[in-house]
Symmetry: C2
Subunit: 212 residues, 2 copies
DNA sequence: TAGATTGTTAATCGATTAACAATC
DNA sequence: TAGATTGTTAATCGATTAACAATC
């Protein structure tokens, strides 16, 4: 158990989104083949993915229960028990993150937002605290997740501060490579990396079109 | 050639960032082992990655030329010939994307920003056009990349509009699964997917700490 | 020369896909 | 029953790592 593959894990949120859509439309059962078609996967992959997170098997001829899948995926992804997080950096990106209402659906609650600029007071219902309060806040509420949305030159400092205060997982939106100790989790939301992939795929498509 | 692995491609921007840092510090040569240490990779992986994008080999004992690597990676990633893009949706996220000055370094130039709301006029030096102008704009300037930063309910419509006008690559920031034809490239900047990975890693760390 | 570092070939690991028997 | 759909085992594919000879 728990040894679900990284790839499967990353596909789950998309499945869930689609299944919820089906649920809304009143669809009760769905075949792996139908889902595969939407995402351009093979039906075997979809079945394997489902098998790795759900106890209930699909039924030959009828497929999988949409309700059951929605329940199981949400449960597996931990959307039912909310994780609390702090966010540091309330510039343009920080504003966007604070205004995004979807995080709670994903089991994430930004309970504290911080900035060095004390002029900012309130953003989308979130009170903005002075950065000097960050450490005590993390400790007092035992926060484990830290979101970094500061300019890249201060990102490492904020990172160190967070980890020093007890943060165990960092979601980094700054375009920089943070240095962290071994027992800390990190995800870099790296625009450059995504863009590299998109550019490559675009090139391939243009090349293909040319050769036709 | 050109068959560089997806994984390698996604590591390149981080290498580049680090190498530029070294360059700034005046470092002339660097060993694969030193770079591996920074990213927690193996040195073989670093060498393989470099080999797949650079003509110039590393030298035993001295390592790789930092200047040469910076040049080659930037060249490979296409940072020297700028791609033009349009962005649709100038809400909080759109604001953040427009204010991000780093895109040009990554070879991306947002030459047009659009919104249905005609009240918005100018954001960080970008004039905001009415959505009705999108199609003709894409056609006139032969834009190939479209960035979607609208609420999820209108994302598919915008996507269809873009593709209809000639867009070949979509960078989707809306939390939804877009349906696209085969010959179109897409990258979903899926927060839920990243968060799933971060949560899993956090869980693993907490479990490990508990068992000690 | 000796030792650090390289590039490449072969082995391993992990994820996807093909094949097929089981079943509603 | 026949056919659609399932789960599982084995084969394939792709990426990483180990082993090692080459070289500055």
């Amino acid at each position: 158990m728990s040894s679900i593959s990284k790839e499967t894990l990353q596909r789950l949120p998309a499945y869930l989104r689609h299944l919820k859509e089906l649920q809304k439309q009143g669809v009760e059962n769905v075949a792996s083949k139908a889902i595969a078609k939407v995402f351009n996967y093979t039906s075997v992959q979809v079945r394997k993915d489902f098998a790795s997170i759900s106890e209930e098997a699909g039924k030959p001829k009828t497929g999988f229960s949409v309700n059951r899948l929605v329940k199981d995926i949400a449960e597996f992804l931990g959307y039912n028990n909310i994780n609390e997080a702090v966010l540091v950096g309330v510039g343009n990106l920080g504003h966007a993150l604070l205004s995004y209402s979807g995080f709670k659906d994903y089991g994430l609650d930004i309970v504290g937002a911080f900035d060095i600029n004390p002029n900012i007071k309130l953003v989308h219902g979130h009170k903005i605290y002075n950065l000097s309060k960050l450490e005590s806040f993390i400790k007092r509420f035992n926060i484990l997740i830290g979101i970094i949305a500061v300019p890249k030159d201060s990102a490492q400092d904020i990172c160190d501060l967070m980890i020093g205060a007890g943060i165990k997982a960092i979601w980094n939106f700054s375009p920089c490579n943070l240095v962290i100790p071994e027992n800390i989790a990190i995800i870099n939301e790296d625009m450059a990396s995504s863009l590299a992939l998109l550019s490559q795929r675009l090139s391939k498509i243009l090349k293909k079109e040319k050769n036709q």
